[in-house]
């Protein structure tokens, strides 16, 4: 409850200070704001635009749709797809489905956490990687699998996971010009 109150207060304070550009979102709202039952779709499109659901944008959606922020917040926190925090340049979705679990997903998770020094749900300090465990990616016969920015990596081993992450770190835009830190 305190989290909710905090969120509401925050909304009141920051409602004037919309820090994000809403031109793309306005197009979405034009189509959906008067269509009942569209909240999930609006939030999905907003997340596509901003990468996550910033608080000022939730407040803005609330003003436009006349749906109260706690209700929007309730929907946003109910579904695993929605994020209230920005994610790194590479979003790692580590499958923790049954088949992956049986075939060693925990070891892969431990390796990723060790390599990046983060836990599930966290982002590395340099903003390059975010790790999210997910329930199932539906590629069970290639388990264990992980998906990074839409690309699926099959039949993972701790060694493979490490080398994939190191390669991506080298390729990272945020690392451009810097010495390889690994």
């Amino acid at each position: 409850m305190s989290e909710l109150n905090q969120f509401n207060n925050m909304c009141k304070k920051s409602s004037d200070e919309l820090t994000h550009d809403t031109s793309q979102l306005d197009e979405v709202l034009k189509v959906y704001k008067n269509k009942p039952g569209s909240m999930i779709t609006i939030l999905q499109k907003a997340q596509d635009i901003y990468g996550y659901l910033p608080k000022d944008i939730i407040c803005y959606i609330s003003q436009e749709t006349l749906i109260k922020t706690p209700i929007i917040y309730g929907v946003a926190t109910f579904y695993t797809q929605f994020r209230l925090q920005p994610v790194g340049e590479y979003l790692i979705l580590l499958c923790k489905g049954t088949a992956c679990h049986v075939n060693g997903a925990n070891e892969i998770e431990q390796t990723i956490c060790d390599e990046l020094n983060i836990q599930n749900g966290e982002t590395t300090e340099d903003g390059i990687f975010t790790l999210n465990n997910v329930a199932c990616l539906g590629c069970c016969s290639l388990s264990p699998v992980m998906m990074i920015n839409g690309e699926t990596y099959a039949k993972m081993t701790p060694k493979k996971a490490r080398s994939i992450l190191r390669d991506l770190r080298k390729k990272s835009k945020l690392n451009a010009g810097k010495e390889d830190q690994v």
């Binding site: 049954t98 199932c136 539906g138």
Partner: protein
């Protein structure tokens, strides 16, 4: 002559994209245009990427586990009939395992191009809906589905005709028909493959259902985690509209029907009908009390019929071939075929479709090829978080709704995860409780709190801190969660615990009373040692050990001080020489 590349999500994950690019490049450099088609998953996921070469007389040669470097050989074979050297043609065993199956729901998956409506139309596509509209009344349609004996393929196994009849009899309008593609069971991918490989048959099935209940609007609810399925559905819907198959006055019969897609946002409980409807309405997906059933009051309070993807995919075939043809397959109470996703420690993982009544042994050994690495079979998990683990002693159980339910598991949507001797059954129960605990919507106290308490007990046991009385406490909680939950999520959440307790109670007891994990899986109950013959003394493990329990001189064999070891397993993950043994 044409080339077909399997492009389901699994094929793409295995590298089908790269293979496609390589084929296009090679054809360009040879200046030899050949027709390239894409297809969905044909089910043999363990052989992906798959490339079919189809000659002009229709003869098909299937290349498996294709790598870009095989392309030149495959094209030499296709164009010059030159026998390949390194590229692998599908073996007889794999072919035999395909031949044992009977494909109705999967009849087009992996065969037709899912992005071309012409392919579907050329294979009796949309003939069933045409037949219904022109020759049958809605009541005739329901009657034929009744004869077929088709039961809901989403898990509960409720007779499809009965649901249609209930929705048909409602007076209120408009009515809606919904396809439940929120495949949330971790370890199941039947619906994904059907939607990716044969979207038109689901659309046609929905149209027939719509006609039968008197709905003019259909909604497909698909998981957002299945972007390719959504894309292929969008293409299919667009093509159907362009051909006048969806829209107004379909086939000149005055029947109007259209479908739109709703992307789910990730919540297992939305597989439950009333939760799914709440989600369609843009709310939190929380189930409500039934009755009223969705057939009476569903989407926006109007009569709504919800069926699973696989159920709809069966419908066109049933209406074209007749309900009795479907009923001729399967057992007395479970008619027809069922699709299963075989995964886990199985040789030939993938998607299979079999007539009901085959035994588990036939599926796992004859079709699935048995267990990987010649290990011993321990159990098969059916029904996901709502189901249970069936032990080796029950391998001769026939696969039908009643027999599977009698084991304590459920048929479920079709996930079949095979486990070998290295899988800890207590950990398996913990895994599923972790899942249901996270996915509980929080409405009912018993489910919200009960699953959490059960998870804590299971974590305690797998961490070696189990207490005398924990098993009895678990059993008591199982009953209370079952009794006190409104929907099937809570009502079935204890099943993984109950079945493992029923068949593998000794494993629970070994964890609690002997502080030992018989499968050598639970980290806290293992002893870590260094194999002297494999250790090169690189020191990586000593550097990472959080409790400084590893010592040794550089380039010499290291050792672990057991009294300091906290059993975190870090040494095992960092060792690149496989020198750490955990027993």
């Amino acid at each position: 002559m044409k080339i077909i590349i399997g492009q389901g999500s699994c094929g793409i994950a295995a590298g089908a994209d790269k293979v496609t690019v390589a084929i296009q490049k090679e054809l360009e450099s040879r200046n030899h245009p050949l027709e390239i088609e894409l297809a969905g998953c044909c089910g043999t996921c363990y052989l992906e990427p798959i490339v079919d070469v189809v000659s002009d007389n229709g003869q098909k040669t299937t290349f498996v586990s294709v790598k870009p470097e095989h392309i030149a050989e495959i094209l030499d074979f296709a164009i010059h009939q030159k026998q390949p050297k390194d590229a692998v043609i599908m073996g007889d065993n794999d072919q035999a395992s395909l031949d044992k199956q009977v494909r109705i729901a999967l009849r087009n998956a992996g065969v037709l191009n899912p992005e071309k409506i012409e392919d579907y139309l050329a294979n009796d596509g949309y003939k069933a809906i045409q037949k219904c509209l022109q020759e049958m009344t809605p009541q005739d349609v329901i009657e034929d589905v009744k004869i077929s004996g088709l039961r809901g393929r989403g898990g509960a196994g409720f007779p499809t005709w009965f649901k249609w009849q209930a929705a048909n009899q409602q007076k209120a309008t408009p009515k809606y028909i919904v396809c439940n593609g929120d495949e949330g069971d971790p370890g199941a991918f039947m619906d994904r493959s059907i939607l990716e490989g044969d979207p038109h048959s689901v659309i046609e099935g929905m149209m027939i259902g719509g006609y039968a209940i008197g709905a003019n609007e259909g909604i497909i609810y698909v998981r957002a985690e299945y972007p390719l399925a959504i894309k292929r559905l969008e293409i299919a819907l667009k093509q159907a509209r362009e051909k006048g198959i969806l829209g107004k006055n379909i086939f000149g019969t005055g029947f109007d029907f259209d479908i739109w897609i709703k992307a789910g946002a990730g919540a297992f409980v939305c597989g439950e009908e009333t939760a799914l409807i709440a989600s369609l309405e843009g709310q939190r997906g929380m189930p409500r009390l039934k009755p009223p059933f969705p057939a009476q009051k569903g989407y926006w309070g109007k009569p709504t019929n919800i069926n699973n993807v696989e159920t709809f995919a069966n419908i066109p075939w049933i209406l074209l071939s007749g309900g009795s043809a479907f009923a001729a397959l399967g057992t007395e109470k479970s008619k027809g075929t069922k699709v299963f996703a075989l995964a886990g420690k199985i040789q030939r993982g993938g998607l299979i479709e079999i007539p009901m009544g085959l035994t588990l042994r036939e599926v796992i050994y004859d079709i699935g090829g048995g267990i990987q690495d010649n290990k011993a079979f321990k159990a098969v998990q059916m029904g996901g978080p709502s189901g249970g683990c069936i032990p080796a002693s029950l391998l001769d159980t026939p696969i039908d709704y009643e027999s599977i339910t009698a084991t304590g598991a459920i048929m479920g949507s079709g996930g079949m995860i095979v486990m070998d001797e290295t899988t800890c059954m207590v950990d398996m129960a913990r895994f599923f409780l972790d899942f249901t605990c996270k996915e509980s919507c929080g409405k009912c106290v018993q489910c919200r709190v009960g699953t959490k308490r059960m998870l804590e007990i299971l974590e305690r046991i797998t961490n070696g801190e189990g207490k005398d009385g924990d098993i009895e406490l678990l059993e008591d909680l199982c009953q209370k969660v079952k009794d006190g939950s409104l929907c099937a999520l809570g009502g079935t959440a204890p099943n993984p615990v109950l079945t493992t307790l029923q068949y593998f109670r000794d494993e629970y007891e070994a964890h609690i009373y002997e502080h030992r994990c018989p499968a050598h899986n639970c980290k806290k109950l293992l002893t870590y040692t260094i194999k002297e013959d494999l250790c090169v003394g690189c020191g990586a493990c000593a550097k990472k050990c959080p409790s400084d329990a590893i010592s040794g001189e550089p380039k010499k064999v290291h050792s672990i001080h057991q009294e300091l070891c906290i059993k975190c397993g870090t040494c095992k993950t960092v060792c690149t020489f496989n020198a750490i043994e955990a027993l």
